[in-house]
Symmetry: C2
Subunit: 234 residues, 2 copies
């Protein structure tokens, strides 16, 4: 299975200039293949954002020619799950590469929403954090501004109780809790700076409310993002 | 009647750090006053955006003490309409000042959507244009990128037909048509640069579809916006 994707401005996919093509030699029924792709796209391409602007022609195509010679996948059996796992791994990787290639990006930001009442609530909240200009500029500035994160979660329309939320920042340099049960903590600014000084950063919002979780990805908002999009014809 | 408003970051009001206080000496029934305020807020404060992030505590309060000695306004009579006109003019002005005071702003951008099927469609489309980072950086760069504008209209969820849309840019330096019946025109780049070189710029989208219109306001997205929001604690 192979794939490629084109980015990386006007990126906030909703299967609408993000273009991605995936090819596999697996023998698989077209309806089953489309169902696998749609499910995978919802948790990969549709959970990334570079600038919050949805392109006019996002597209993910998958082509299967059957040359692998496997017995054709026509139902959701064990083979299907193996296939879908490979498709999912590929789509996660391509989605990550689109964000890393984001215009002016200096950071790769993973937003995890844990213990949400539903997948929809978790996705709404995670996606709202990835589209906030205030959060994306704060991360560019390596500033642990947890207030902006809870603002974006509150603003998302997701069902949650701000009074019981825990929040963390994490990277290769460590982990620091910013909020506990809805209250800001007296965290170590020095440790926070170390964590945010890395290239890959996670913002973790634990709603402490239900069984569902979601992850979304974005990049920071830098001087170069403005330069690229204001001066590109000069 | 007097008023003041606090801005101007985390501004995308949805009556949630935008704070505005209005006082009047008119005698007016509280219910009638609230109704007038709610209607006016929908077309003023709720149609501005600086960074697309809705604050946790937007608020507009109006206080009326009755010292004007007018016969109390208790229904939607002629006096009510005079009062509402004054309230509307005040709220438009305060909303404009919040946007002009936007973090890093160098331009004041008015987005007009004309001949939409409904007010809701017109507002959705206008608001979507005011929150697009790609449009706000293009205007900072004085670039007549009509493609980004039609992207944001299409992306808004408003009901319209892209095949019949006309689009214009306008300022004190003149007016130029960018799209006609959904097609990009071979416009004068020189004239467009002159128009966009002004401080106050209008983007006009004519849907050619119905009786409704709406106006929304925003500022451009500049290097200083990133600086203010990334480095504000340094």
């Amino acid at each position: 299975m192979g794939g490629m994707a084109k980015g990386s401005g006007m990126i906030h996919p909703n299967m609408a200039t993000m273009l991605s093509f995936i090819a596999t030699d697996a023998a698989i029924n077209p309806n089953v293949l489309q169902e696998a792709l749609s499910e995978v796209v919802d948790e990969t391409y549709n959970m990334i954002s570079v600038d919050g602007d949805t392109s006019t022609n996002d597209m993910v195509l998958v082509l299967a020619n059957g040359l692998a010679g496997n017995s054709p996948i026509i139902q959701k059996n064990g083979d299907y799950h193996v296939f879908k796992k490979a498709l999912s791994a590929l789509c996660f990787k391509l989605s990550e590469l689109i964000v890393r290639d984001g215009e002016g990006a200096t950071k790769f930001i993973t937003v995890k929403v844990l213990n949400a009442p539903s997948i929809e609530d978790a996705r709404k909240a995670a996606r709202s954090v990835t589209t906030s200009a205030l959060i994306k500029t704060a991360i560019f500035g390596e500033d642990a501004n947890w207030g902006r994160v809870i603002m974006a979660v509150g603003n998302s329309g997701a069902n949650f109780d701000p009074g019981i939320v825990d929040m963390y920042i994490e990277s290769n340099a460590g982990k620091e809790q910013m909020m506990k049960k809805g209250m800001g903590l007296a965290f170590s600014e020095e440790n926070a700076r170390k964590i945010l000084g890395q290239r890959d950063i996670s913002l973790i919002v634990d709603m402490n409310m239900g069984p569902s979780e979601a992850t979304a990805w974005t990049c920071d908002f830098s001087y170069d993002y403005v330069k690229i999009n204001a001066d590109y014809r000069s």
